[in-house]
Amino acid sequence: MKKHSARIRELFYSAMERDPGQWSDFLEAQCHGDRKLMDEVMALLTSHGQSQEFLEGSFYEGMNIEFVEESMSVPRSSHLKRGQRIGAYTLLTKIGEGGMADVYLAEQKNPKREVALKLVRIGVDSAEQQQRFRYESRVLGRLRHPGIAQIYESGSAETDRGDQPFFAMEYVSGPSLTKYAKREGLEMCDRLMLLAKVADAVHYAHQKGVIHRDLKPDNIVVDEIGQPKILDFGIARAVEGHDVDGGPHTATGEFFGTLAYMSPEQCTGNSAAIDVRTDVYALGVVGYELLGERMPYDWQSTPIAKQIRGILEEDPPLLGSVNGALSGEVETIIAKAMSKESARRYQSAAALADELRRYLAGDPIEAKANSKYYVLRKTIRKYRVPVAVVTVFLVLLSLSTIFITSLWFQASEQRSNAREATSLTHSILNQVIQEFEDAVRPLAGGKQVSERILTQVDLDLEKLRPLVESDAALEDVLMRLHEKQGDIAYAQGRHAEAAEHYQACLQVNQRLVEANRSSGDRSNDYRLDMARAHRKLGLVGGDAGQHFEKAVRLCELVIAQSDDSLEAKYELCRARVDFAQHFFDRGQYRSAAPLFDSVIELAQPVIESDGDDYRWTKLFTMAHLYQGRNLFELGEEESALASLNKSVELGQSLSRRQPTDTELRQVLLQTNLKLGVVHYDSDHVDRAQGVLEEAIVIGQYLTKADPSVTAWKGDLREAHHELARLFLAKKRLAQAKPHCEQAVALADDLVQVESGNPEWRRNLASSKMLHGCILVSEEEWQSAFETLEEAKAVYQALLLTDKENAELRAKLASAFDWLGKCAMRLEDSEAALDYYTQAYEMRQALHKGQPDVPKRIFDLVLSQTKLATWHRSQETIEHDKKAAGLLNKAKTLLLEARRLDKLAGHERRFKRTLSHIDTVLGRIAEDAQAQKKAGGGS
């Protein structure tokens, strides 16, 4: 009977997908002469056509049933109206309702934004329900992550119906995760990236002690900039050790959870077994659906009990069987996330996110970590070229060692052979230092390997030294060794140690130059070595300008003497790039610009004649990046953008050739960083966010590959910092805050590693200042004041040792400005005046030093307007006169600068600022007029 019924359904459903005209033929073919079956199905199909209006409408329509002794009533809907105010919010429209609460789209005036306002329905007054509502607001309230809909405020407001509990949340409109992926036609990599972002947010919630328990695509909305956001923590529960004030573990919104996404431990009702891995399972199912565009199990018309058994016992088909492109690592990752036993899943959402990113970066995934062959295969595939190089050198080194050893024995009898052996050893050591180390160092973790190799070489050299005194070849090896050791120390942020090595390198070099003076055949080689040592000494600080200048002159000398040596040109370009960067770091953009231009001019013909030259193309890429950054500071935004785009184009193509070149990845990171800033400043926020997120991905890859490289960590900090800045400007504080916190944490970390490095301290101050600004936006005046004071103190300390640094002074002035604002809000008018005055004086001096730089002009104007605002706040005629005086000065400064063409590229800002000044001047004039009238009248 059951089989027969199933067959009827099957035929009915299949026929329904066909035109009625085809039903008869279709059933003839399918029923194989079973007339009864055919008639039954045909009757149903015919009924379908006739039953369209059958059973339409509610059974309850018109029913008149009264329940006597009704003890409980249904909670009344709030019946709140559009335009009604609840606290600081104006209701717009109802967008959802739950068992005890309604959700409205509402508008907040300050800051102006749309919010989702959740209101307890009037009439819901059970203590337990109220407790649940408070619990939900508490759970959400402590989650602040770009991937989680943010709660802004919770409380209660007085209405005509009494006290109205509410909470205001970030309003997110957009399609669900799967719909978004489908609509945008996302590639697999983009879908994986989305899933990784969701996993990041889930991990964040876990860290805050909250398990979602009902993750599914419908609970994940993708906003207009492609950021997935998790909604509905309604049935969330606290992670062990993070219980939220004994809050209920179940809340409105749950009925079946959602079976398809439920983990085996949820299905068995083993609530003790529910932990963060329960959400990892759901993420696996979400990933399956997102990638495979179908659910893991085909459960159409399947009884629930059977579905539960399926979750507990059956493995879903591997993703690869759904779509061949997903076979292999992707299906392994998803299958691991969906393991029946939680112990076999990823142990955290972060581990899943990391795994997805490892896959995206082309690294071996851990899901197959138990197979050594697999890891080896994967590593070789990724590092195909470097592995080949390393292997060749290892073989060479082994063979050479055997050869040297045999010669060494003979050397005890024959002194001439000993010299030969030593010479050969030099050659091998040189090879190790130059080429082997060069091949290893750029690999992930290669710096540590290099350091160990070089330390060993250093020890060997010490042993060799007594055998051959004043050996030029040995000195040469020693010089290169110092240089390499300096490079590694520099990369790991040990600048003092790096400087010692470079100094030692320079000393050996000078001895070699002296020794070679008579013959002169290698003078130019040594000069280039010397130039390089000076350049690198410039990088580690202390008389940097002089070192760079010497490096440049030495290179120019060699070029003049050696008939355009390509090697000398290359070293000259490196020296000029670093020299220009030195100017750039000090805000001397006009001094930096011609140096960058000259590098590009020098490199261009080389690239044109040999586009495959990796080293030159990389240099060219770097030069474009740095030039772009510099042009941007000079207000030449269009040219800056062109340079940066060129850098990305070249960098990406190089990256495909040498995917393991971490130095190149850093260049790409920095280019993305700067592009983010440029796009942001050009109001292309989506693009800015995209490239900054790209920079974060590269930064995370680099810092994971080698956490000891402080420069990479510094760049990652900057990416987080810039993204936080972008979100802050867009008033998306909930998204800004976690990035800013990451930036501060990374900056703190860097300062602890290298407390003496001014750059890290500068970054710490900068991120703290941003944090202060976020707090200002949140109107947390006292906290903002304290954070900004910390930033100010760091800037002041830095200026003690770097008094002439214009950028530092500009930052300090900015800190004074913000502090002035906080002081005003904290009603300390005198302190505010003091801060504004200090900012003004500093900016006056800065403008005097760099009168043509637009930033300095605008900064000074800003200070003048701030001071004017302070005077206006005093509300006296005298203060108004001072305010007017300052504003007129500012106006004159702006107009004069424009007349002299100093504000090219800043027209919009010029107009905006001038308009603001005119407005305030107008108000002062009106007030003066009013005062005059009032005075006349009296």
């Binding site: 008149n64 329940f67 249904v74 068992g99 329900q129 409105t252 749950e254 018309s301």
Partner: protein, 190 residues
């Protein structure tokens, strides 16, 4: 025995036919059942209507609070509510057919009896019989029909709760409607 433990125990034994279990469940879930019924009846008149699912969610929270309810127990609870409402509706229609007063006053005790009477009537309505056939031959389609018509759950909601696609639920609904129409009027046509 605490009320929630007893309900859980009853739900485990619930098979849709045992009158004693139905009666006791009604006693324990009376207030929630009234809320659901009132919502279905009065909500229409007011023009504002709460999804029954919301009230059932709330019932679960009221009864079980922090304690986890197994999916199978939740299914049984849902089955109880839809059967209860089916019995209320059919009782009303039977009264109407008998020409009894349009206003149907139901005390708690009446309600218990109505619900416990599940399918044990001499004067079965045609639709009642047709539904019994549907339940027997096509259980999923029957389930969809019951939830959609007696608890007025949306097809989307049913799909979510059953962990299946809206497409599958819509097909099941159309099948059930065709099946019932065929049972009720197909013969006449033929």
């Amino acid at each position: 025995m605490k009320a929630d433990d007893e309900i859980r125990s009853l739900l485990r034994r619930y098979d849709g036919h045992d009158r004693a279990i139905m009666r006791r469940l009604t006693e324990l879930l009376l207030s929630d059942l009234r809320r659901i019924a009132s919502n279905l009846l009065k909500g229409r008149k007011r023009g504002s209507f709460l999804q029954t699912t919301v009230l059932i969610n709330d019932a679960i929270l009221n009864v079980f609070g922090k304690n986890h309810l197994l999916p199978t127990e939740k299914i049984k609870l849902l089955a109880y509510f839809r059967t209860a409402m089916k019995n209320v509706v059919f009782t009303y229609w039977r009264r109407e057919k008998r020409g009894q007063s349009a206003v149907f006053q139901v005390s708690d005790k009446d309600l218990q009896e109505i619900i416990a009477s599940n399918g044990k009537h001499e004067d079965k309505l045609d639709l009642e019989e047709a539904l019994e056939h549907l339940a027997h031959e096509h259980p999923f389609e029957y389930e969809v029909f019951m939830l959609h018509k007696f608890l007025e759950m949306t097809l989307q909601d049913i799909a979510v709760k059953h962990g299946t696609s809206i497409w599958a639920v819509r097909k099941a609904w159309e099948f059930a409607r065709s099946f019932l129409w065929q049972r009720l009027y197909g013969g006449e046509e033929a």
